[in-house]
Amino acid sequence: MTDQRAKPKAVSRSLQQRLIRRFARYFGSGLTLPLLILASWEVAIHARLLDSRLWASPGAVIVALIAQVKDGELFDDVAASLQRDLSGFVIGAVIGLSVGIVLARSRLIDGLLGPLLNGVKQIAIFAWVPLISIWCGHDEPAKIAFIALAVFFPVMLNTYDGVRGIDSRHFEVARVLGLNRWQRLRYVILPAAMPAIATGIRLALIYAWLATIGAEYFFASGAGVGSSMNDGREQFRMDLVLLGMTMIGGIGFLLNVVAGRVENWALQWRDG
């Protein structure tokens, strides 16, 4: 009798223990701290521990998000940012790729311009902002030029390394086969240097996004995620600022994922 009673109790206790353990695993894990911060933040605002004129609660950020999605402002901002991000990226990547290949293949040009480019590279990217503003104004061309500049160096450097690393025997074979300049580029240089180029492109995508945010602060005009954050700051709208931060982090994360996929895809043929 006692056995029969004890049994279900033991079972339930072990179930309870399992639940507690699962609970502990769940809440002893990485989600705890963010949830704690968000919860105490929300509570602190309602309890007036944080000045609600300055601070926006997590709930207010969600409200701002919904409002911005509804009137289409969010979409416009993201579209504008991504568009200039990609424009600058394509321009910078094409120039970087070309310069990298030319420098790697021509010892004369490399000798003349290589050290100079290495010197220019040392100038912190943001130090170009005043000069770009004088050359290109404060509008779209300036932003795109800044992003392209940020993209140029990683693409150029990685392309240069990749092309310099090509086994010289590849070029001997190309000579034997009588390949012309373009065939050499298409069938020897680009495939052999592709891993390094893909790495450069991947890095460049990430930097392009950082530079987009920077460009939207420095050349403040027009739509964009960074611009809307800047507006939010000027209007003391913490909810807009926090929403902007979330968007910047989220889009950066997505771009990173996409860039990784693209890199894998570009290198797929090597495994086959």
């Binding site: 002893g28 894990s29 990485g30 989600l31 701290l33 963010p34 300055l54 004369l108 000798g111 003349l112 290589g114 050290p115 100079l116 010197g119 220019v120 040392q122 100038i123 912190a124 990217i125 943001f126 130090a127 170009w128 902002v129 005043p130 000069l131 004088i134 050359w135 940020a150 160096f153 990683p154 450097l157 390394d161 990749g162 690393g165 090509i166 086994d167 240097a193 891993p195 390094a196 790495t199 890095l203 930097y207 996004w209 945010i213 602060y217 420095f218 954050m229 800047n230 939010g232 700051r233 003391f236 913490m238 600022v241 926090l242 902007g244 931060m245 910047i248 982090g249 950066g252 994360f253």
Partner: protein, 296 residues
């Protein structure tokens, strides 16, 4: 086929310094000197040096004459000699030194705070699996938002005073230092730990005699990235919100359309970036020679 694939963290416009391929050994070079191959290499070096001087010199002359013959208006590009003159002016008037001192102090303070916090957090996450599980998502969220993304938020919170600059610079150093410290401790080979277990090392002995020496090179690399990121963020934050410092000097000359001063400041910023990089690469080479291991 040796294709050097750049490590994502080693190349960075925000810290654009490829690592040295190898540490040259001066004794070896001397020993090789008399062979014809070495003579050829020396000729090659002289040729390259010649080209490296010729290229910029030609561009400088082109620049000079383009301005002289009014192909380029001075409002677009001032003459190189004007840039040199304002560089000398800045240096002799003491304006450069005083603003540079302010900027360097900001970087030093911010870097110390950010790197200290990064070392602590990275060690905690690298040495304790529990801490790692608990803290990593939060750290990833914080590091996912780039330094510039924090700027408007921190401006609202802290105003545009000194605290803002220090916090921004600290955040810039914090992320790479944490990541490299974490990965450095993670990458300590497991057989080192086994040997330590056989010798029955205490936890402190394990830390001091095994973990720290083994993880030191990657941690140092993290510190190096951290410092370059700090310098970069300093320039950005001084351009956006400052009334002194090298970045402010640029904004000020931009507003007065003193392009010569502006370009002179770009040169200064480039030279400092270069010196910082050389100094740290040399230190890193020393660290690698002392502690061995590969650069991560």
């Amino acid at each position: 086929v040796t294709i050097r694939i750049a490590d994502p963290s080693s190349q960075d416009i925000f810290c654009p310094h490829p690592l040295p391929a190898a540490i040259p050994d001066p004794r070896k070079e001397q020993a090789d000197a008399p062979t014809p191959l070495a003579a050829q290499a020396r000729r090659e070096r002289v040729y390259r040096l010649f080209l490296a001087i010729l290229g910029p010199l030609a561009l400088l002359l082109l620049w000079h004459f383009a301005v002289r013959w009014a192909l380029l208006p001075v409002q677009i590009l001032p003459a190189p000699e004007a840039v040199a003159r304002s560089l000398v002016d800045l240096a002799t008037s003491g304006r450069l030194a005083s603003n540079l001192a302010i900027s360097v102090r900001r970087v030093a303070l911010g870097f110390l705070i950010g790197a200290g916090a990064g070392l602590l957090l990275g060690s905690a996450m690298g040495l304790s699996a529990k801490a790692d599980r608990f803290l990593r998502p939060t750290f990833l969220v914080i590091s996912q938002i780039p330094v510039l993304g924090w700027l408007p938020f921190l401006m609202l919170l802290l105003g545009i005073g000194e605290a803002l600059k220090i916090v921004i610079i600290a955040k810039a150093a914090f992320t790479p230092v944490t990541l490299n410290t974490l990965n450095g401790f993670r990458a300590v080979p497991s057989h080192y730990l086994e040997v330590a277990r056989i010798y029955r090392f205490s936890p402190w002995q394990l830390l001091g005699k095994v973990m720290l020496p083994a993880a030191f090179p990657p941690i140092f690399t993290g510190l190096r990235y951290g410092l370059t990121h700090s310098w970069l963020s300093l320039v950005a934050v001084e351009l956006l919100a400052s009334t002194e410092g090298v970045g402010y000097l640029m904004v000020w000359s931009r507003q007065l359309f003193q392009l010569d001063t502006m370009i002179a400041m770009m040169v200064v910023i480039g030279v400092i970036g270069y010196l910082m990089d050389r100094l740290l690469s040399a230190a890193e080479a020393l660290v690698l020679r002392r502690y061995g291991g590969s650069v991560t």
